[in-house]
């Protein structure tokens, strides 16, 4: 580690054939990953998917069982954490309780023998708007404040690679937005490489240039947030990143530009370019907001898929939009998000409806929805949130 100076730019991070086994389980099966310098990369996945382990491997806090780690083209696999040009914002903040906030932030600067560490630390605290708390001890701060100190303590070192382990988890929504922008602007200003680990799909999508969705120690899909959302490759990605309606059926016919899948006795078309599999049983998906709810059977139109009739089982109004659950015989429950363009809900539970969508909006997956059950479905974001809410309610009831 060079002392006395900051990294002038971010560095590439390259993981080659990484495997990490712990006694009793494999955290990472096989991981190849290149993160170009200056990018904001998010590893997204449920808890236990191996994303934090990946981060710890890069930081040098764990040794890979196999494979190598390169930062800026240099092999750092066998370097100790203090020798790597990397800083981490820990999920637990890991602030030193015996030092003031200012000394915490100056810690890395002092170790690298930077000139004027306290002034630089003070500037970093101004960045996170905590300069007035510089002389406090970390235990005297709230969770959100501690998190911002942890952020300042890492960012102040201008590392070539900044690792963020769920860094904004404890912040309230407003501060979170602010910090997201702040982080993004720091990243763009200095051109540092950010590796951000999170289970919050919204955070990953709004902040990162590239998102990798991880599941069970593997990267399921990697790409720009829009691409991942518009064209998920697997059932896990389709359901972890936003919601999806998935239907499985045999391929009836394949033309040069589309495949036809039988769903609930209806032909559903998917563009060939948007389908990963073109024969056998195929799972097709459609995002709930791309669906249209119709109260009359629509005439058959080219370029539009229609399912129905089905019965509305649930209507929930959420201000901006209304969510409908439609029970279509043979195709499970279909979720529809309808924007409240004119007024609120247009149908009531029990109404007979049809749903339709443009063929171009559908996508075909490489695995099936039934396989998806094996991917610990209890760990998707929505369920984690529901579980957290339940836990909180239980806790409040007890006290």
């Amino acid at each position: 580690m060079a002392t006395g100076s900051f990294a002038t730019s971010g560095a590439d991070l390259e993981l080659v054939g990484i495997q990490k086994r712990f006694p009793g389980f494999t955290a990472i099966e096989h991981l190849d990953l290149v993160i170009p310098a200056g990018s904001f990369f998010a590893l997204l996945g449920p808890s236990g998917c191996g994303k934090t382990t990946t981060l710890r491997l890069v930081a040098g806090l764990e040794d890979p069982t196999r494979g190598s780690i390169l930062i800026g083209g240099e092999d750092v696999t066998h370097r100790k954490p203090f020798q790597r040009p990397v800083n981490t914002v820990f999920q637990s903040y890991a602030l030193f309780p015996h030092m003031t906030v200012l000394e915490n932030v100056a810690f890395g600067l002092r170790r690298r023998k930077m000139a004027k560490p306290l002034e630089l630390a003070q500037e970093a605290l101004e960045l996170v708007e905590l300069e007035h708390l510089a002389s406090r001890k970390p235990t005297q701060l709230s969770g959100g404040q501690q998190q911002r100190v942890a952020l300042a303590r890492a960012v102040v070192n201008r590392p070539a690679l900044l690792l963020l382990d769920e860094p904004l988890g404890a912040l309230d929504l407003k501060l979170r937005r602010q910090m997201q922008l702040e982080l993004k602007s720091i990243q763009e200003e200095v051109g540092l490489t950010f590796l951000h680990v999170t289970h919050d799909q919204e955070e990953a999508m709004t902040m990162a240039d590239t998102v990798a969705v991880m599941n069970k120690g593997r990267i399921e899909q990697l790409g720009a947030p829009e691409d991942l959302y518009e064209l998920p490759h697997t059932a896990f990605v389709a359901n972890f990143l936003g919601q999806s309606n998935l239907f499985t059926g045999p391929v009836l016919e394949a033309t040069s530009h589309a495949i036809a899948v039988e769903v609930a006795g209806t032909r559903v078309l998917v563009p060939k370019a948007r389908a990963r599999k073109h024969s056998g049983e195929v799972t097709v998906g459609i995002r709930p907001e791309k669906l249209r709810l119709l109260t009359e059977a629509p005439p058959t139109t080219a370029g539009v898929n229609t399912l129905g009739p089905g019965t509305v089982t649930d209507v929930s109004f959420s201000g901006v939009s209304t969510q409908y659950q439609v029970d279509v015989p043979g195709a499970d429950s279909v979720t529809v998000f309808a924007q409240n363009l004119d007024f609120g809900p247009v149908v009531t539970p029990g109404t007979e409806v049809w749903v339709s969508w443009k063929v171009d909006h559908g996508f075909g997956l490489e695995d099936s929805a039934s396989e998806e059950a094996k991917f610990a479905p209890e760990l998707d974001t929505a369920t984690i949130a529901v579980q957290a809410k339940r836990d909180l309610a239980a806790e409040l009831e007890v006290s």
Binding site: F82, S92, F96, F107
Partner: protein
């Protein structure tokens, strides 16, 4: 961590304002006990220390007086013993700390993945307590005696002069004190290090600190309460110890500590005022040293 229980502040804030008779009633046995077995003996000791010999009386006959010169005489006569006591105790405390810290760190931090090993090692630290303090010290005396295996081997190898001894020297006394008080150092250190948040150690490494720097900047300051407790629990009894330095055990005529002097004044020469004033001096010096030490190490919470 015996001292942590007395942490100030919170208890005061949470105390109910209403005076409770039950609380007084519950405190009564404690108060009576302290009066009877601490305050009364203390006052009696102070009074004894100021007594004057009865004119033309027998040896050991004293009457109540205010002879503060007893203190001057005690210090001028036994100043060397007082200094030696604190010197030995200080050395023993430092050796015990140097020995105990790695041991406690291993049991409390490194051995965390193996709870069985942790328990086994703790038992090994505590096990010597099952045997009497005197017996253990006597055992060391015979082990380290001139006829013992160790000394005779060293002499055979010419690593020790043929007429040299180990028992009866200051080194033997410091060794004995160190050995006897190591558990008092190890246990509070272990209790503290066992709760050490290793994520902070990781953070130190992440922030470019070498392992040694992380140790001195993070681990040691975090374990300061354990160090303070251990040092106090070792230093205070070691300074007043009279077993190890006694010629019957590991000491010799030139190693007498203040405890030995008090013992001989009380029990051999029957010079009660001198013994009492030495006891008071010992207590006062320890009290001052402890207060200064705690203030300087920044753990006032312990007081």
């Amino acid at each position: 961590m015996a001292f942590a229980a007395f942490a100030t502040g919170t208890a005061k804030e949470q105390a109910p304002r209403r005076k409770s008779r039950i609380a007084l009633l519950l405190l009564l046995p404690g108060i009576l006990y302290m009066m009877l077995f601490f305050l009364v003996p203390l006052v009696s000791l102070v009074m004894t220390s100021l007594q004057a010999p009865v004119e033309f009386g027998d040896i050991g006959e004293y009457e109540t007086a205010f002879r503060w010169e007893n203190y001057v005489v005690a210090i001028s006569t036994y100043g060397e013993h007082i200094l030696r006591s604190f010197g030995y105790a200080l050395m023993a405390t430092i050796f015990a700390l140097l020995f105990s810290y790695p041991l406690a760190y291993f049991i409390g931090v490194k051995a965390r993945p193996w709870p069985l090993l942790q328990k086994l090692m703790l038992v090994m630290v505590i096990a010597p307590f099952f045997i009497s303090f005197l017996l253990r010290t006597l055992a060391w005396k015979s082990l380290l005696s001139d006829e013992g295996f160790l000394v005779s081997s060293l002499k055979a190898l010419s690593l020790m002069a043929p007429d040299a001894h180990f028992t009866g020297t200051g080194a033997a006394v410091v060794f004995g004190l160190t050995y006897n008080f190591i558990p008092f150092m190890t246990l509070p250190l272990y209790a503290n290090l066992e709760r050490l948040d290793t994520r902070l150690v990781e953070a130190g490494g992440d922030l470019y600190a070498r392992p040694a720097t992380t140790f001195f900047k993070v681990t040691v300051p975090l374990s300061m309460p354990g160090i303070v407790s251990g040092v106090l629990l070792t230093f205070i009894p070691a300074a007043g110890d009279y077993i190890n330095a006694s010629p019957q055990f590991l000491g010799g005529p030139s190693t007498a500590m203040i405890g030995n002097v008090i013992e001989s004044n009380f029990l051999v020469t029957n010079n009660y005022p001198a013994a009492a004033s030495l006891s008071i001096i010992l207590m006062a010096v320890i009290l001052v040293m402890v207060v200064v030490y705690i203030k300087r190490s920044g753990t006032e919470d312990l007081l």
